[in-house]
């Protein structure tokens, strides 16, 4: 018995005394400032300005954002300088969104992303984005009774789930960057009186430099080509003269046909699109008419897809991961050789639109 108590006492003593030496510092939730969004703005070639948004929660359930900003050439310095402004230490473990200004992205953002990768408290489901205008303009206006970082993250998430954004986060960005035969892309946001507006996708080349922005009509096409999707977002096609048809609730299936990888034989991408007809400005929708709409749409999608892919080839970026597809089908993968032939391989898209429902009209 005495030995038992002695053991117990020793264990308790060790735990309480040694927990001081283990370097576990307490970060009590309400005694720290949680940065939920960080934006980087271009100042000059070597300097940037960082803006951090942290929410302040008031007991009456209102949430106000405070922003800290600092100019530097190193993220670490930025954090120190921000801490000098804050009454409570700023922690980045709940970081939801990191934004980079377009001008900064043109120079390459990898040296800025590095700090996010090194910090173990930052999760890889963090969302990255490119800002048109300044990130200060996006982050500093107060929007409603919600924290700006969470608002931004929810907006992007919602558009991935239901809208036109393909799945994107820090993990996928890094995967695309480090894998051979694939280049990363990020969503582009723009400030719109307090709110934000998702404009499209920004394409990066293999060096991590921003090179191209998708146009609004290209976004849905890009998503369909990038992954198998189920989205609420739709597209419309001109049928004849002033007649338009639009579909939504799209389910797509995409498959690659690469007969001879690593040669310049054509690559075919098959797109199977199943959709619901939501709008048609013409007369009655008969089965015959549906057939016509399907054909027109298939042709339209094919055209738009091939244009987009050609554009990517011209810019020598590969956000769709065509190189990745080739790499999985060959043993003689050679990155250098692929980079040489990528721009010249003919890439065809076969689209097949199927309309499952034409809606309730009567």
């Amino acid at each position: 018995m005495r030995i038992l108590f002695a053991k117990l006492a020793l264990i308790l003593l060790l735990i309480s005394v040694l927990s001081g030496c283990m370097g576990v510092e307490s970060k009590v939730l309400d005694e720290i400032n949680l940065a939920t969004a960080i934006g980087y703005d271009y100042v000059d070639k070597t300097h940037f300005e960082a803006i951090a948004v942290t929410p302040l929660y008031y007991p009456d359930k209102t949430i106000k954002n405070i922003t800290f900003s600092s100019k530097s050439s190193l993220s670490k310095d930025v954090r120190d300088e921000m801490n000098q402004q804050s009454e409570r230490p700023i922690f980045s473990g709940k970081l939801e969104v990191v934004l980079y200004e377009k001008r900064l992205a043109k120079q390459g953002i990898f040296y800025l992303i590095d700090t996010l990768i090194r910090d173990p408290s930052i999760g890889t489901t963090l969302k990255l984005g490119i800002v048109e205008g300044s990130s200060k303009g996006v982050l500093s206006p107060q929007f409603g009774n919600i924290d700006k970082g969470i608002y931004l993250s929810n907006t992007i998430e919602q558009n991935i789930k239901m809208g036109m954004l393909p799945k994107t986060n820090l993990h996928l960005f890094l995967y695309a960057h480090y894998s051979e035969g694939m280049d990363p892309f990020l969503p582009i946001v723009k400030a719109l009186d307090g709110k934000v507006y998702i404009k499209g996708n920004a394409m990066f080349n293999s060096k991590g430099e921003y090179v191209y922005q998708t146009k609004s009509r290209e976004n849905v096409i890009f998503k369909m080509l990038y992954e198998n999707t189920t989205s609420k977002e739709g597209f419309s096609t001109k049928i004849e003269g002033r007649e338009f048809a639009s579909v939504n609730n799209i389910k797509t299936k995409r498959s690659y046909k690469i007969s001879k990888p690593m040669t310049d034989t054509p690559i075919t991408i098959d797109l199977e699109i199943k959709a619901l007809l939501r709008e048609y400005t013409g007369d009655e929708v008969t089965p015959k008419m549906i057939k016509i709409i399907e054909d027109k749409m298939s042709k339209d999608v094919k055209e738009r897809s091939e244009n987009l892919v050609r554009n990517f080839q011209k810019l020598h970026v590969d956000p769709l991961g065509i190189g990745e597809q080739v790499r999985t089908r060959t043993r003689s993968w050679d990155k250098k050789k692929w980079d040489e032939i990528y721009t010249s391989i003919p890439i065809n898209v076969n689209a097949k639109v199927e309309i499952l429902e034409s809606g309730v009209v009567e």
Binding site: L4, S19, M22, K27, V28, D30, Y57, K61, K94, E96
Partner: protein, 490 residues
């Protein structure tokens, strides 16, 4: 069979003669001894007023003493009562007198006859209070060992039900009965129990819980190793499983062993309900226990160290509920946990009628007021209240207490080391549970050692026809309890 296990060496009054014994007992005021003269025979009748049933004496004994009988044998022949013992041993005379016997001595004989006339005043068999069930039998054990044995024996009217009686306690001379079914129960279990009880060298056994604390395998463990039950139907059922039951005179609870950890979360009512419903209730109980042990420590750990783990939509709720609270999460949690424990303790100590006010005081004053005063956060209040509720779902009272106790070390470890501390202390707990045994049988069975068959009645309860064998845990002599149909043998 009776085993006398008290201290013969220390017996002070080594009486040599009946008269010495009687004289010695005369010191007590409630001891009565008188003589009756018939012709030339002098009977001496002695007894303790307070121990005997006077009806028996007046109705069945005294009238027959008038009849003409010159020897004790003749007298006994005429008496219409059973339970007569002849003795020449003065020590036995004394001990039996103290058990409620009437002694009759004849002046010229060196023998005495002992007539059993014990006053069996005991409570009526009532509804079970601790283990109440909506369906099923509604009888509970009482303080009288004989009544309790009756309650069990009427459920098992077989010759194989063996009852061994041991007298324990130098002062209390408590009758302890060990029950098992011969041919089913493992002899090793039975012998272990009997040996441990016989070896007890104590003055008093007041209740069955004394026995359970003294004969447990690991006496320092906060976990009980014998299930304590007040239901005779449960006792009869586990006897059929091959377990050993201990009943103590004066205790309205019986003990049963060997037991496993999971049995403590099985209410006996589970067997009265359909197996799907019973399994669901059991799973809820396990969840409640895990919640009860881990919720407050996780709250403290996450709020103190791991803010990253909080979902983004929950951050604002937590921060807002904690804003303006001057204490760190650990103090806040300790204050609330202690408040709940105080409430429980106060409720248990107060008489029932006063006890009702405790609910009001606890609910309104401590709950609402402490949140309004900004001393605790309402999120934590909900968690603490739920975990207290969770600990009360445990059907066995002793296990409920254990669960409330082990929350506190976990809480402190969560404060010192965060989730790592919770993991460490949970490992300690698991290792402890793996090490303890009940009557030498593993406590964490069927989890470890993994016995798939016994899992049919652990976390869930499968239907009776799927439990054709008795639990492996008990190592019964006869394993089959559901005999196959005659025709299925062909």
């Amino acid at each position: 069979m009776k085993r006398y296990s008290f201290f013969k060496k220390q017996e002070n009054h080594k009486s040599t003669d009946f008269t010495d014994v009687l004289e010695h007992l005369q010191k007590s005021k409630d001891f009565t001894s008188f003589t009756l003269n018939f012709e030339n025979e002098i009977y001496c009748v002695s007894f303790f007023d307070t121990l005997i049933d006077k009806d028996i004496m007046h109705r069945d004994l005294l009238p027959y003493l008038h009849t003409n009988s010159s020897t004790l044998e003749e007298l006994v022949h005429n008496l219409p009562i059973e339970g007569l013992v002849f003795t020449k041993n003065p020590a036995e005379l004394q001990s039996q007198l103290l058990m409620g016997y009437i002694a009759i001595t004849l002046n010229k004989s060196d023998q005495a006859v002992l007539v059993k006339a014990a006053n069996n005043t005991s409570r009526q068999v009532t509804l079970p209070e601790v283990e109440f069930s909506v369906v099923g039998p509604k009888e509970a054990l009482v303080e009288s060992l004989d009544t309790n044995l009756y309650l069990i024996r009427k459920r098992l009217p077989i010759a194989e039900l063996a009852v061994e009686e041991i007298i324990v306690g130098k002062l209390s001379k408590t009758r302890v009965a060990v029950l098992h079914i011969e041919g089913i129960a493992n002899k090793e279990n039975v012998e272990t129990v009997i040996q441990r009880i016989s070896d007890l060298r104590v003055n008093q056994i007041i209740d069955s819980s004394y026995i359970s604390q003294m004969i447990e395998d690991n006496k320092n463990s906060p976990f009980p190793q014998f299930i304590d039950t007040e239901r005779p139907d449960r006792l009869a059922a586990v006897l059929g499983e091959g377990k050993v039951v201990i009943l103590v005179d004066g205790a309205p609870h019986g003990l049963l062993g060997p037991s496993t950890f999971f049995e403590y979360f099985a209410a006996f009512e589970d067997y009265f309900l359909n197996w799907t419903i019973a399994s669901f209730f059991r799973l809820i109980r396990f969840f409640a226990v895990l919640f009860s042990i881990l919720m407050t420590p996780i709250y403290v750990a996450v709020l103190t160290y791991h803010y990253e783990l909080i979902p983004k939509d929950l951050v604002s709720t937590l921060v807002i509920s904690r804003s303006g609270i001057p204490f760190p999460p650990i103090l806040e949690a300790l204050i609330l946990e202690l408040a709940i424990e105080l409430l429980r303790e106060a409720g248990a100590r107060l008489p029932t009628k006063v006890g009702q006010t405790i609910g009001i005081v606890g609910g309104i004053v401590i709950g609402t007021a402490s949140v309004e005063a900004g001393l605790t956060s309402n999120v934590l209040l909900i968690l603490v209240a739920l975990s207290a509720l969770g600990s009360f779902t445990t059907p066995v009272y002793q296990m409920g207490n254990t669960i409330r106790l082990i929350r506190f070390p976990l809480l402190l470890m969560a404060y010192f080391l965060g989730l790592l501390g919770i993991a460490i202390s949970f490992c300690f707990l698991l290792v402890h549970l793996l090490r303890i045994t009940s009557l030498g049988r593993p406590f964490l069975e069927p989890l470890y050692p993994p016995r798939i068959y016994d899992m049919r009645d652990a976390l869930i309860r499968l239907p009776f026809f799927l439990q054709a064998k008795r639990p492996i845990e008990v190592q019964t002599e006869d394993t089959v309890r559901l005999e196959p149909k005659e025709d299925s043998k062909e």
